[in-house]
C-alpha cells in the first residue's frame, strides 16, 4: 500500500472511530432520556441506571404487564383502571378514560402515558399496546399457552 493511501486509510478510520466514540458518549449521557417509559419498579424505586425517582405530577410513560384480575371497568362510562407489574416487585395502578387498543387484555404488555398521581398511580390519557416479537398461529399459541404472551419487558 503506498503512503498516500495509507494516510487516507488512517484518516478515514480515525474519522469513524472518533465519531463512534462521540456518539457512544452522547448516548451514554442521554441514557435515561432515551427510554420510552418507566417500568413500575422504576416509578417506585427510581431509574435503574441513575436512581432518579419521578415526581408526583410529572408527565411520564409507564410500561408493564397488565396484572391478571386487576382490570376494573366502570359500567356507566369508559373509565377503567388496571395494575401494571414488571418482572421485579413494582406494581402501579393506571386510571384511564377512553377506548383501549384492541390488543389490550390481562397479561398484555402496555405503555400508558399520563401524569403521576400518587406514588404508585398514574392518570393516563393514552394507552398503547406493546406486543412481543413472537409470531405463531393460534393453535401453536394454545399449545404453549401462558408462556409467550406473558413475557415481560426486556
Amino acid at each position: 500500500m503506498n503512503p498516500r493511501r495509507k494516510k487516507r486509510l488512517l484518516i478515514t478510520c480515525s474519522l469513524i472511530f472518533g465519531l463512534s466514540l462521540a456518539m457512544g458518549l452522547t448516548l451514554f449521557a442521554l441514557q435515561q432520556n432515551i427510554d420510552l417509559f418507566y417500568t413500575p419498579n422504576e416509578i417506585l424505586e427510581g431509574k435503574n441506571e441513575t436512581g432518579v425517582k419521578p415526581e408526583i405530577g410529572q408527565r411520564l410513560r409507564v410500561g408493564g404487564m397488565v396484572l391478571t384480575g386487576s382490570v376494573k371497568r366502570d359500567p356507566d362510562s369508559l373509565k377503567v383502571s388496571f395494575d401494571l407489574v414488571d418482572n421485579k416487585a413494582g406494581q402501579v395502578t393506571v386510571y384511564f378514560d377512553g377506548i383501549l387498543p384492541d390488543l389490550f387484555r390481562e397479561g398484555q404488555g402496555i405503555v400508558a402515558q399520563g401524569t403521576l398521581k400518587s406514588k404508585n398511580s398514574v392518570d393516563a390519557f393514552e394507552v398503547l399496546a406493546k406486543h412481543d416479537e413472537d409470531y405463531m398461529p393460534p393453535e401453536v399459541a394454545d399449545a404453549v399457552k401462558g408462556m409467550s404472551n406473558l413475557k415481560t419487558e426486556q
Binding site: 493511501r5 487516507r8 486509510l9 478515514t12 474519522l15 469513524i16 465519531l19 463512534s20 456518539m23 448516548l27 441514557q31 432515551i34 427510554d35 420510552l36 417509559f37 418507566y38 417500568t39 410500561g63 383501549l100 387498543p101 384492541d102 390488543l103 405503555v111 393514552e126 394507552v127 398503547l128 399496546a129 406493546k130 406486543h131 412481543d132 416479537e133 413472537d134 409470531y135 405463531m136 398461529p137 393460534p138 393453535e139 401453536v140 399459541a141 394454545d142 409467550s148 404472551n149 419487558e153 426486556q154
Partner: protein, 248 residues
C-alpha cells in the same frame, strides 16, 4: 490477490459487468416476490394475537432490513472510494442512496400502518422509530449533498464522507430495542437464538427478504449504470457505445 479486480476500476468494464449481472438479479426477484407475497398474504396462518394484521410484516421487515443493507453497502463503497480514491465506488454510493431512502420510507410507512391498529398510535418517539427516521434524513442528506455540487468528483467525496458519518446510526437502529425501553418489539429473526416466529410464517418472510434483496441489487446496478453513462458522457467509450446502439 486482488489483481482480478483491477480491470473493473475501468468504467467500461464495470459498466459491462453491471449490465451482465442485472438480468440475473431480476430473474431472481420476480418469482420470489410473487411466491413470497402470495404465500405470506394468503396462505401463511394468522397470528395468535394480532390476527391478519401481522401480515404487514412481509413488507415491513424486508424493507427495513434492506434499508440498512443498502446503507451498509454504501458505507463499504464510500470507505473504498475514499481510501483508494475510486470514482466508481463513489458513483455506487450515489447510485444506492435513493434506493435505500425509498426502502426506509416503505419501512416507516408500513410501520405506521401497523402501529395504528396494534399499538394504538401511528407514531411514537421511541428509540427504534426515531433512529429509523434519522436514517431517512441521513439518506436525504446524502442525496442532497451529492446533487449540490456541479463538480461530481467533489460531490462524490463529500457524499462518501457523509455516508461514513451516518454509519454510526446502523448499530443504534439495530440495538435500540435492546438498549432502551421501546414500544417497538425486539428482533424476531436477527438474533442468535432460534427465530421467534413459527416456521410456516418464517419461510415466506425469508423469501420476501430474498426478493427485496435481489431487487435492491437490480436497482443499484441499474442506477449505477445510468450514473456511469452520465458522468462519463464525453469519454470515448460512451460515445462509441452510443454510436453502436444508434446504428443497431
Amino acid at each position: 490477490m486482488w489483481k482480478w479486480l483491477h480491470p473493473y476500476a475501468k468504467a467500461e468494464h464495470s459498466y459491462a459487468l453491471a449490465g451482465k449481472l442485472m438480468p440475473w438479479f431480476l430473474v431472481l426477484t420476480i418469482p420470489s416476490f410473487i411466491i413470497g407475497i402470495v404465500w405470506g398474504l394468503a396462505f401463511a396462518p394468522a397470528d395468535y394475537q394480532q390476527g391478519d394484521s401481522f401480515r404487514i410484516i412481509y413488507i415491513h421487515v424486508p424493507a427495513a432490513m434492506m434499508a440498512m443493507a443498502a446503507y451498509s453497502t454504501m458505507a463499504i463503497a464510500a470507505f473504498i472510494g475514499l481510501v483508494w480514491q475510486l470514482r466508481l465506488a463513489e458513483m455506487a454510493v450515489a447510485a444506492a442512496a435513493p434506493v435505500g431512502a425509498i426502502y426506509t420510507f416503505i419501512a416507516l410507512f408500513t410501520g405506521a400502518a401497523w402501529g395504528k391498529p396494534m399499538w394504538g398510535a401511528w407514531w411514537v418517539w421511541d428509540a427504534r422509530l426515531t433512529s429509523e427516521l434519522i436514517l431517512l434524513f441521513v439518506y436525504m442528506g446524502i442525496i442532497a449533498l451529492y446533487n449540490a455540487f456541479s463538480d461530481k468528483v467533489l460531490a462524490g467525496r463529500a457524499a462518501s464522507i457523509l455516508t461514513l458519518v451516518g454509519v454510526i446510526n446502523l448499530p443504534i437502529i439495530h440495538f435500540s430495542v435492546v438498549w432502551w425501553n421501546t414500544l417497538h418489539q425486539g428482533a424476531t429473526i436477527t438474533k442468535f437464538e432460534q427465530p421467534s416466529i413459527a416456521t410456516e410464517m418464517l419461510i415466506p418472510l425469508l423469501i420476501m427478504i430474498f426478493s427485496f434483496a435481489t431487487f435492491l441489487g437490480v436497482m443499484i446496478l441499474y442506477r449505477f449504470r445510468s450514473e456511469l453513462l452520465q458522468r462519463e458522457q464525453h469519454r470515448a467509450w460512451v460515445i462509441k457505445l452510443v454510436q453502436i446502439k444508434g446504428r443497431g
